[in-house]
Amino acid sequence: MREVAIIGIGMIRFGELWEKSLRDMCVEASLNCFKDAGTDRVDSITVGCMSSGLFTGQEHLSSLVPDYLGKINTPASRVESACASGGLAVRTAFLEVASGISDYALAVGVEKMTDVSVNEATYALATASDRDYEAFHGITFPGLYAMLAKAHMDRYGTTREQLAEVAVKNHANGVLNPYAQFPFPVTRETVMNSTMIADPLRLLDCSPITDGAAAVLLTTETEAKRLKKNPVVGITGIGMGTDTIALSQRKDILRLDAIDHAVRRALKMAGKKIGDIDFAEVHDCFTIAEILVVETMGIVDQGKGGPATIDGLTALTGKFPVNPSGGLKAKGHPVGASGVAQICEAVEQLRGNAGKRQIDNARSGITQNMGGSGGSCVCHVLEVK
Amino acid sequence: MVGIIGYGTQIPRFRIKVEEIAKVWGADPVALKRGLNLNEKSVPAPDEDCATLAVNAARDAVKRAGINPAEIGAVYVGSESHPYAVKPTGTIVSEALGACPFVHTADLEFACKAGTEGMFIALQLVKAGAVKYALAVGADTSQGAPGDALEYSASAGAAAFVMGADNLVAELVDTHAYMTDTPDFWRREHAHYPEHGGRFTGEPAYKKHITGAVNAILDKTGLKPSDFNYMIFHQPNGKFPVQVAKKMGFTEPQYRYGLLTPTLGNTYSGSSPMGLAATLDEAGPDELILLVSYGSGAGSDAFVFKTTERLPEIRDLAPKVKKQLDTNKTYLEYGAYAKFRRKILKPE
C-alpha cells in the first residue's frame, strides 16, 4: 500500500447559495482545489453526496461532475453514507491512490439543500434514519439527537448550559473562518432562548441547512515530495465503523460504536493514541453530537463532555481544540460536503495557514464524520510528514 | 343460543363544550343545552378516524371474548364516516385484529343504524352456523356543518361486539326491524357535510321508527316495558330518547346507564351500541336489556338481550365506557376543534 498525501484543497463559502447549482458548486470547489494543488491532473473522481435526488432531483453525479469539470472520460463514482458521504469520498480516493489504481484522486463533497422547502429538507435528511421504522413515525434528525440529549442529561446530568456552550465555542471559531455560513458569535442565552426544534434542542443547537461543496486532491507521498509541497500533509490513518441504522436497536443508545470503531482503526493505522493528536474536526451536527463524540473518541471520559466544554478544554486555545473551523454548527452543514470540508480545515491547520484560528504547533489532527444517528462513521488521521 | 361473547369501546380523549360552539355562532348555550339535553361531545384526534376507533374497540372486544381472532369468520363495520369512499374499513380492522384471510367483510352504511345492522348480520351468521364468531362494529367520526344544530352533537366513538354461540355474556332473545323510506337526513356523494329535514327528523322519523320497532318486538316477545331491567334507544341528542322512553312507559332507572349523549354527543353508528356496552358494564346476570337503534333514511333495529353469569367475569378485562368517557378528557377551543375536524385547511 502506498503512502497518501493531500496536495490540494478547495472550498467555497458555505451558505444559502441561491445562484449556484449543484454542478456549479462541485466545479468551483474542484477548481479551487486544482489551483491550490498546482495541477489539475485527475485519474479518478469520487463524489460524496447524500441525496442529490431528493434535494434537487439529480442523480448520476458520476457523469455530471466529470462532465462539467471538463474531465470527461475520467473514471468517477458517487458514494453515499448519509452525512458521512464526504468522509467516505475521501476514504475512497485514499484507497484509489494507496492501491495504485490512481496516482491522482479527487474527492468532492457536495450538497445542494436549499432548492427545497425546510419541511422537504427535513424529510430528505430523515431518510438517513431507518425509513420504515424511524422516519415513518415522524421522527426527524433533530428529534433523534434530542432523544440522545435527553438520555445524556438523564444519565450524566448534562445541562442545557453545557449544550449551549458547544454552540458558543464553535460560533466563536466560525467568526474566524472566511468560509463559514454563520460567522457571528452567539451567547449561551441566545442559544437557550432560540426556537425549540425538538425538546431539548433549539434552533441554535442545530447545524443549519446549507449549500456547499469542498474538494481535496490526493496523490502519493512520493509524488507530493517531488512537487516540493511544503509541508507535505499525509493521511496516515483511515477508519470506518458501522452500527445499527435505528437508534432504538442499540443496546445502549449513548454508546456510539461506529465512532468508537472508526476512531480506533484510524489511530491504530497511524500508530497513535488520541492523546498524541493536536486537534479534531468532529461531526457536531447538533451540540449534543459534539459532546457524545468527544467522549467516544476518548478526548474526555464518558459523561464529561459537557463540563469539559464549559471548562474550555475543546476551545481553540484549550488543551484539545475541537472544531477550529467552527464545525458544522457555524461553518454550515451541506451534508455530503462536510466530511471533505473537515479534511480541508485539518490541512489548513497542519500547513499553518489557518490565520486567526491557527492552532499553535499543529502537527497532527483527526477528522470524524458520521452518518445518521451514528449508523456509520469515517475518521482520518492527518499528519505533517 | 347465540349472543354477545365480548364487547369493547373506544372514545377519543378530546371534548368540546356546547358553550364553545355556541359562542362562535352567536347561539344561546343555555337554551341549546336544555333543548338538546347535551353538554359536550367527543372530538376525534387528528390521528383518529373510523378505522382506528373500530380497531381499538374491536381489540378490547376480542380480549373480553378471549378468542383467537383467526376464528372470526365475518367482520362488519357500520359507519357513515368510513375513511375511504371505496375500499373497506373492514379489511383494515380484520388485518389489524389478525382475522385475515378466512373472513367475510363488507362495510355497512345506514346513517346511525349501520352498527346495529352489523350486529344483526353477525348474530344471524352465527345462528345459521355459517361462521364460528362474527364481529360487528359501529364506529363514526361524524361531522355537522359549521353552525348547524348537528355541530353540537356529531361526535366520535366506536363500540364493537364479538358474536358467538358459546360462552355468551348476553344471549340474544329476539330481534325486530322497522324500516321505511323516510328522507330526514342525508349526505350526497362528495358532500362534506350532511343535510337534514329540521323538525321533520322528529315525529315522522326518529319517533315513529323507534316506537314502531319497540311495539313490534314487544308484540313478538310478549314482553312489556316493565319487564326490562335496562333499555337503550339511539341518542341523536339527550332529549329524543328520554321523551320516547317516557311516553312508552320506560323509566329513568332503565336508561340511566345507556344514556350517554349528554357528555358524549351522538357517535352515530356507535351511539346505541355504545349505550349497550355501558349497560353491559353495569348489568348483573339474568337481566333483560332492550336495544333500539335508529338510522335516518330511516329505520330502527330492536334487540332483546339477556345477560349471563359470565358477564361480570369478563367485563374488567378491558376499560369500561364510563372510564373512557370521564377520565383523561382534554377540552378544545373552537379553533383547535376546527383544525382537528378539517373545517379549516392550510393551502395545499
Partner: protein
Amino acid sequence: MNVPKHWRESPQRYRMEAGKCRKCERIFFPGRLVCPECGHTGFDMVKLSGKGKLHTFTVIRTAPSGFTDFAPYAVGIVELDEGIRILGQITDCDPDSLQTGDRLTSKFRRMNDEGKTGMIMYSYKFVPDNGI
C-alpha cells in the same frame, strides 16, 4: 405512490409482529433474516405486547413533510416488557408532561396519508397506560 411499500409493512405496523431467533431466543422488531447476535437464520413470529416504559423521548416542533399538521407531537424510544426497544409516537398525552419511565401501551392510529385522495397509512402509536 408508496402503496406496496406500506402494504408490505402491515404485519409489523398493524399487529406488531416481531421475529424471535430460534437459537438465541432474542426478539427483533422488525423481524430479520439473520440474527445479529448469533448468526442464526431461523425465526419464529411473535406478537409484541405493545406495553412498556418510556426510555427517552422528544417533542417534535419542526416536523417533516406529511407531519406538519400534527406538530407538536412526542416521539420516544419505548422499552417493551419483552426487553426490546422500539421507536414510536406518543399520542393522547400532553407532550410537556411526559416523563422518562412512564408506562405506555400501544394503540392503532393514523400516521398520515399520501395527500387528500391518496392512501392512508396506519400504525401503532403509544399512549399513556392509564387503563383506557
